[in-house]
């Protein structure tokens, strides 16, 4: 019997017993539904990482010279200890770094910490304080909704001026124009000169609770009491240019610190790529764990199908006998039942895909979890559905094909 015929026969048999068929494919449907939902969440997070997180937080074609990396897998006790022993990065390093960078690159200095701020108009609260220098705002792509950025003079003199984030503005200066007003951080008043455009949040954490002041202002003594800086950020126009810049800076630093050829770097240069690879590994782990459970669901679903098919074969023994008496060979009967199981299972998978997509869309819309349905998961789920059906159907189909027609015809 040709495959198309058999599929049609399978569909009409399934249709004739809708309720029973529904229960049979329930396991597969639920397994696939969770599979799609989980993969969608992981893919959604991954996409978020690449587009929003990496882009926003770390910048494109950007690397930061730091003491040690912030995003690293499998940090051992040893590694941590070694990191603590490393020399610090200081403002004075900026000179030498700037000297090896081509004119096309931008650089900035960053020193940050959480500090308490207060104003005359609201209760004091924690803010993320950044003491910055160089083309910080350009590199980070921070836009203002009112006011201005620091002038070159203010940067050089360390004038106590501040650019605040949108949430800082609304909390500390409710219904007021913050420009020109004072915000106290660490007991020292800063004049607000600019308000930043709302940045939104990352995983539920607001990016608008920040305040920025020139590095040389008193702020840097608060954020890095030891006198060092958190990092020097360098942005290049292209990925290749960035690689070149990284090499130049690495050479410089190694020379400065008198490292021999065999010795590893005692500083870190973190790019969005290195942060991303951290998340790639995380994503990989999440995918494995997240799909393990639905996979078990699929196995159970397959066993359900196998058992129901065994019952079906027993109930339809007479039918099998009739078909054999009319000329059906063993392989015709085998194919009929195998295809029935596969069709049932694939149908279940397709329904599961539909449900999984719906769940993913709901999660994306209603929760902070990002979910994006990945086409590869849909294809894989469909294939899995068919494979599970075939594997579960083999045993019942063989039983059916081996029935003795004479005995089969005697069944009630």
């Amino acid at each position: 019997m040709p495959i198309l015929e058999a599929v049609r026969l399978a569909l009409s048999t399934i249709r004739a017993q809708k309720l029973k068929s529904s229960f049979t494919l329930l396991g597969v449907t639920i397994g696939v539904m969770f599979l799609i939902a989980v993969v969608s969440i992981v893919e959604g997070m991954s996409r978020y990482m690449e587009e929003d997180f990496a882009g926003r937080l770390l910048g494109v074609n950007t690397f930061t010279l730091k003491r040690f990396p912030w995003f690293e897998n499998n940090v051992t006790e040893e590694m941590w200890k070694e990191w603590q022993r490393r020399p610090r990065i200081y403002y004075s390093d900026l000179q030498s770094v700037a000297s090896v960078l081509p004119a096309t690159t931008r650089y900035a200095v960053e020193s940050q910490d959480n500090e308490r701020a207060s104003s005359a108009y609201a209760r004091s609260r924690q803010v993320e304080a950044h003491a910055v220098d160089g083309e910080y705002f350009t590199i980070k792509n921070y836009e203002l909704t009112s006011g201005r950025l620091f002038t070159q003079r203010e940067l050089e003199m360390g004038t106590p001026v501040m650019v605040v984030g949108s949430e800082v503005a609304t909390h500390f200066f409710p219904n007021l124009d913050p420009l020109g007003r004072e915000l106290r951080v660490g007991g020292i008043p800063y004049a607000v000169v600019g308000v930043m455009k709302k940045q939104g949040s990352l995983f539920g954490l607001s990016l608008d609770k920040i305040v920025l002041a020139p590095y040389h202002s008193p702020l840097h003594r608060l954020t890095n009491p030891r006198g060092d800086i958190d990092g020097i950020i360098v942005q290049a126009p292209t990925a290749m240019a960035m690689d070149d810049a990284m090499e130049s800076v690495r050479e410089l630093m190694r020379g400065k610190r008198k490292l021999r050829p065999g010795q590893p770097d005692n500083f870190a240069m973190e790019t969005s790529a290195s942060a991303l690879s951290f998340f790639e590994k995380l994503k990989g782990m999440l995918l494995v764990i997240g799909t393990a459970l639905p996979a078990i669901g699929l196995v159970v679903g397959g066993m359900v199908i196998m058992n129901i098919m065994l019952v079906a074969v027993a109930e339809r023994t007479r039918e099998i006998g009739i078909r054999k008496s009319l000329g059906a060979r063993r392989r015709d009967i085998l194919a009929q039942f195998l295809i029935e199981a596969a069709t049932l299972s694939t149908l279940g998978a397709l329904i599961g895909i539909g449900l999984g997509v719906a769940v993913a869309e709901l999660l994306d819309a209603l929760t902070p979890l990002p979910a994006r349905v990945a086409p590869w998961s849909v294809v894989m789920a469909t294939l899995l559905g068919t494979v599970v059906g075939i594997v579960s159907g083999v045993y019942p189909a063989r039983r059916a094909s081996r029935l003795d027609p004479i005995a089969a015809l005697r069944q009630e």
Partner: protein, 266 residues
């Protein structure tokens, strides 16, 4: 326990038949004979004990014959029917169907033979309950690999032949017993088989419908179809031109109708 052909104690009716059977073992009988069996035996092992259902049956049936096979239960008539219908293989002996040595065939080959050469009609109709009359009749053609369009046409023709041209899309539960049996006959004939093999075809029908169905068989036989009817009822067997009686796994008698009628006083 082979019969003595020379003295004629073996109950084969005619000389020609005897010759067909007695011919050199392994040689195909000539094309006049649709069924030839030589020393057909079927034994079962029922948990240590050997049951000899058939103990050496010699049979020769020509094309276009209308033969009834009779016998009480335990005579081996069902076993013989299953062997003739290629649903089973003999333990010993030869079975030639339309010149093919069926007794040596594999499962798949037998299935093909069943499909092409044999049309079954059962006592309990054995139609697929969830399929229409048309689809039931199409089934042998499906397994023969015939295209959908041709299948439909041939199935419709077959149903018209048994006067069910207006019932194509009815399901078995929407048909009377007689109609169901006619669908079964249409199905049996759709692949133009060598033999029409009927097992108590009127067993589940009332007397009027039985007569109706027997008339159908008679028409088919007259039109040239080889018909083999297995029954335990003498009045059903009387419709056939030749009656083979089995007893204890052997043929007890094999007579043309006139002789049979004379013997049983009909």
């Amino acid at each position: 326990m082979s019969a003595d052909y020379v003295t004629g104690e073996h109950p084969i009716s005619t000389t020609a038949e005897r010759e067909a059977v007695v011919a050199t073992a392994g040689a195909a009988p000539d094309s006049d004979w649709v069924i030839v069996t030589r020393g057909l035996k079927r034994e079962y092992d029922m948990g240590g004990e050997i049951v000899r259902a058939l103990r050496g049956v010699d049979l020769a049936i020509r094309r276009n014959e209308y033969v009834a096979i009779m016998g009480p239960s335990g005579s081996g008539k069902s076993t013989l029917m299953n062997l003739i219908g290629c649903l089973d293989t003999p333990t010993d002996g030869e079975y030639w169907l339309s010149g093919q040595l069926v007794s040596e065939m594999s499962d798949d080959q037998l299935a093909r033979v069943r499909n092409k050469e044999i049309g079954f009609v059962f006592q309990t109709f054995n139609l697929l309950p969830r399929a229409t009359a048309l689809h039931n009749v199409e089934l042998p053609l499906v397994y023969a690999g015939v295209s959908a369009a041709e299948r439909r046409e041939r199935a419709m023709e077959s149903l018209e032949r048994v006067q069910l041209g207006d019932r194509f899309h009815h399901k078995p539960n929407e048909l009377s017993g007689g109609q169901r049996q006619r669908v079964a006959i249409a199905r049996a004939l759709v692949n133009r088989p060598s033999i029409l093999l009927a097992d108590e075809p009127t067993g589940n029908l009332d007397s009027t419908t039985s007569e109706e169905i027997m008339r159908v068989f008679e028409e088919l036989a007259t039109a040239g179809q080889t018909v083999i009817m297995v029954t335990h009822e003498a009045d059903i067997a009387a419709h056939a031109k030749r009656v083979v009686v089995l007893r204890d796994g052997l043929i007890a008698s094999d007579d043309r109708r006139s002789a049979f009628k004379a013997q049983s006083g009909l």
